[in-house]
Symmetry: C2
Subunit: 339 residues, 2 copies
Amino acid sequence: MTIKDIAAYCGVSVSTVSRVINDHPDVSPAVREQVNEAIRKLHFVPNNSARSLVVSRSTAIGVVSRGVDNPFLSLLIRVLSREIHDRGYTMVLHQIPTQADEIQAAALLQREKKLLGVIFLGGRFNYTEEELRQLTVPFVCCTYTNTFGNLSSSAYSSVSIHDEREAEKAVRLLVDNGHRRIAVVLDDPADNSIGQLRFQGYRRALEAEGIDYDPALAVVTGDYAMSAAYDGVCRLLDSGADFTALLAISDSLAIAAIKALTDRGRRVPEDCSVIAIDGLEMSSFTVPTLTTLCQPAEEMAEESVRMLTALIEGTGVHRHKLMETTLRRGGSVARLARA
Amino acid sequence: MTIKDIAAYCGVSVSTVSRVINDHPDVSPAVREQVNEAIRKLHFVPNNSARSLVVSRSTAIGVVSRGVDNPFLSLLIRVLSREIHDRGYTMVLHQIPTQADEIQAAALLQREKKLLGVIFLGGRFNYTEEELRQLTVPFVCCTYTNTFGNLSSSAYSSVSIHDEREAEKAVRLLVDNGHRRIAVVLDDPADNSIGQLRFQGYRRALEAEGIDYDPALAVVTGDYAMSAAYDGVCRLLDSGADFTALLAISDSLAIAAIKALTDRGRRVPEDCSVIAIDGLEMSSFTVPTLTTLCQPAEEMAEESVRMLTALIEGTGVHRHKLMETTLRRGGSVARLARA
């Protein structure tokens, strides 16, 4: 018994029967009644997923993205979506706020959606084995790794840049241009995540150059909200703090910082150089173009999906891939002019 | 028979058994062999979704997003993700390029993923009944409606702004500030979509003000790529075209236009006013802040999910909701100074 039999029985088209079954309103009441009558009489069970129980093998891969304010993650999600789909899986996307816990979110999602595996975007770096017991499917940390936790490296996969070293590189570029009073804009110096590592890189670069760290030059925003970065940099400027360059730990924070500097009458880069890490398309359109260390976002997302599907399909083991940034020379860094 | 029985039988922890089942490599070969032996002997079938066939009712809602270059859509996806999840459904996100056909993509997705319904983000406005036969689940057009097609309004739902009227409003604001030479930056004046409608609004506003339309002032980018908008506005400036204001049909195109104007030595708004439609957070951080008509993105996404779940649950009929923008007065529009 199929929808065709019902159509033939009633002398109407298959699409009319389909419309009745799916409650589309563009069917006359008389035809609707006739079709419903036939469905009852012939004991037809519409075989579409909206009504029937289906027997299926899950194809779901969870993507748990933490930090909804970060446009860098939107870019990764776009590539993950394409790669997961192209490999015959289904992406189940769950975006959670920065304050939420991604492991709990993933464990819940795993049970509810029968996930085969999970890709974490932008999580903590301090997972413990105990926490991870909740999660019984393989997972890949995309854009970070478990630097501060006690997980065995053979218990999870990761694709990341070396955040600390990249931040060091960015600061060194400023120092090479003569800057020694360098501010930093970051979410949180103790977030057990990217902020903490990039802040460590900033401190380490200063130390290597014999520059004392000045806490007054650290703008802590709490999260990746651009408005908080804007307000923070305005306050820094209003305090009369002396600095000639600024590292923002993400492009979006840098865009807000450039706006704050400009609104307060400082020219970028003449009065203040700005550098960041990420490489958003959007930051090619700031005035001046943002100088930034670009993460290989496309490759990172592709590699994450490759790793996870290999684990799911039993053809791979847990691996850790470290990638390099490439410098985009924008116009936001200049050699320090004053003596 | 559960994983606990296997653990007790072998005298190992539950997590060790779990690691063996999930092929985590951090288990000694001897223990691995022992656990696998017990699994065989006790005929244990691991009950996780990676291995077993599961009987389940689909909870999948498809979100088909066309135009991956548009950051406005990322914002909507974030809200859709939250709303769909909170109502107990699963978002299956599929992002397709601007050139791809969203109906075909959705029909395929419907079959593959057993969708209960579909939300389209950023599609064409010219669907025909024939095309829509492929899709047998209810759908909602989010951010647009079927202006150019022949669908009965009772066959689908939509949440949109009145694109034509909003573009008219934007141009009128420029005219009210004394501008009569107004350029336009758009993807395509005949895209059967938002570009076409907003372009019609631009033309209609000029006409109403008795201003002749000058095709030389239309920058057509082909899609929403910011680089194309940047290049297009640079070419327009290099051609010596005379204009004192510019409407970009989206914020991201406006951000690129402001960059082009500034790089070519034109001050915004002193030498050229810029207005747009969308209301991205990012465009609050351009220099100057972009003046734009903000779409109620959060509300649009929420309403779309509300409509679709009501249809799925049989408590709603197809509806069409028109929403209004609100003007964000940035600093990118100024009264025309010259005589």
